[in-house]
Amino acid sequence: MVTREGVLGEREHAEARPLTLAGVLVPGALVGLMALAFVVAMIRYADGIGAISNLNDAYGWGLWISFDLLCGVALAAGAFVTATAVYIFGVERFRPILRPAILTGFLGYLMVVVALLVDLGRPERIWYLIIHWNVNSVMFEVGWCVMLYTAVLAFEFSPMLWQRLNLQRARRTIEKFVIPLVILGTTLSTLHQSSLGSLFTIAPDQLNKLWYTPLLPLMFWLTAVAVGPAMVILESTISSKVFKRGLETDLVGALAKVIPVALFVYLGVKIGELVATSELGLAFKGDLEGNLFLAETIGGVIAPMVLFSLPAVRRSSGLLLASALLVIGGVVMNRFDVSLVGLARPDGVGYFPSWMEFVVTLGIIAGGVMAFGLAARNLPLFGEHAHGEA
């Protein structure tokens, strides 16, 4: 936990902050990780992906796709869930948590793009998606959703910047279009979250039947809707500690009501599907896949579904956080299970990420945390001055 200045008013910013040990160590560690990741990325650009990773022809995708891309996008879902609640459903009281949620989503998507620039074999051609189209390809949809939704998030985020820079005209112009932007953003998010699941419908024979379903896009979307508020809870809890603000427990508790609904539908479809296809027995075979499925479903779906249904949990900041972590853990497990563990491979080939793969992932996370910290100190992210607009 970072301890910072004592009793400074909310509006006093970085200038007046006295140095503390944590205040030096934490940013230092973040910058160190980023620098290390940068060096590793340079080795990759010089000598190829094989030079820094354990990826191989049987495991064409590894840690970066499973975590940075699939988990990254899912964990950025707080932005679209919160924006939809505030702007479309008109739940005005969620407005105080809107800006941090949008910033988290925007940074999350930027992190995805950076990871893609390491993982893609020809990163300099990422823009080819714009000129070469194959509309049969789910990856085509994924690529376009990344591009367009990152742009939408940039617009949704920009009023904080314009407000800080005192560019009132730019701010008002964006705000005029905020409703169409949010509608577009929610649509793109839905398409993107679901299309990441659709990617794996092309491997019906390779993907373990515990996870393969023609409804994979729906499953990915439902889990994204559940993990969005969970991420808002996590992010609000951390920033309330780091930036010494009160936690809006009532607000995040109210937003958390979405979670059990999404998880319930997910569980119903999942179990119903496994019963209908008579594949439920796979869960109790006692093998790795079966045990992972049970852990994911019981720990990451059923447990938080019950917990978030209890008003007592939604009123307690500690229980809210614990339950949110269960949802997040469940979604992370699910993405790894679908994209890495659950896919059958040729005999005799294995994969475990190399330390340099972890360095890239950690470096990107460090960059995101650093950017959030800088934004939180320098942009009107929290408090009453964030009211009344996007």
């Binding site: 479309i88 080819y128 024979d205």
Partner: protein, 272 residues
């Protein structure tokens, strides 16, 4: 008119002549490998090995049999890789070969996941300057264009690999089964599998024993193409209209509530 190849596992002697011919024609370097305990060598397809003879040791009761399989791109009639490629770098040609355009590839490696036969490989050792690419058998399109047979089929000493027209090869394969029903598994692998392939197999042992996957007769991309054709546009349009409508309804309801509140003469904390 579409070209194909028929591989008859009962005739293959595993001399690896095809494997060498492939390397020679395509100018592929040898690989430094490790002994794995299997005669299959190298152990896997790679960017430098596009064709591999797999040695399967098959135990049937007290009987021991070899099962040799030519592993390379199957040149599917409806290739999953081509469906998966976001930029259309992989294409099925009318003549049969599935060809790859390296000038388009962005290196996302989705084709490697999509292929039900685990065929496409990647140049893991290439940095930005060399430019990483996907590699796989290209059915010797550069030979076909000059009227030559593919290098592997041209080489095969025991005549286990035959190049020809797909329909004719299927007819021939079925004729072989009929002529010697005791010798063959009564099925031509690749005639229907995954929507049909341009590499066809005859075998004396079950095809799974040769390492060929058990697949349905529909292309594996059937579901994902349905999603792209129907679900995606429907969801996109539905969401845009639905969210727009929802916004309007919620706003209108709030306005009405506010109006009602003011006309009723008491103030409400509506719309803070």
């Amino acid at each position: 008119m579409s070209f194909a190849m028929l591989f008859d596992a009962t005739k293959c002697t595993a001399c690896r002549g095809c494997q060498v011919a492939c390397k020679q024609w395509n100018d592929l370097p040898g690989e430094v490998t490790k002994h794995t305990g299997s005669y299959t060598h190298p152990a896997q397809l790679s960017a430098d090995t596009w064709l591999l003879i797999e040695f399967h040791e098959i135990q049937n009761g007290d009987e021991f049999t070899w099962g040799f399989r030519r592993k390379a791109c199957m040149h599917c009639v409806e290739p999953a890789c081509a469906s998966a490629c976001p930029v259309g770098a992989l294409k099925k040609t009318n003549e049969g070969p599935v060809v790859y355009n390296e000038d388009r590839c962005i290196g996302c490696r989705y084709c490697m996941l999509a292929c039900p036969f685990d065929v496409p490989t990647f140049t893991w050792d290439r940095g930005l300057m060399e430019g990483a690419v996907i590699r796989k058998c290209k059915f010797c399109v550069d030979r076909l264009g000059s009227g030559l047979d593919p290098a592997c089929a041209k080489t095969c000493p025991p005549g286990a690999l035959k190049f020809g027209e797909r329909d004719e090869l299927i007819a021939e394969a079925e004729a072989r089964i009929q002529a010697e029903p005791a010798k063959y598994v009564p099925h031509v692998y690749g005639k229907e599998e995954a929507g049909g392939t341009s590499i066809l197999y005859l075998s004396h042992v079950p095809f799974q024993e040769l390492g060929l996957p058990t697949l349905g007769n529909q292309p594996v991309q059937q579901r994902s193409e349905q999603i792209m054709e129907k679900a995606t546009p429907t969801v996109a349009l539905g969401m845009l209209l639905g969210l727009g409508g929802l916004y309007w309804v919620v706003k209108r309801r709030n306005q009405m509530a506010a109006k009602k509140a003011t006309t009723a003469g008491h103030r409400d904390k509506e719309g803070s």
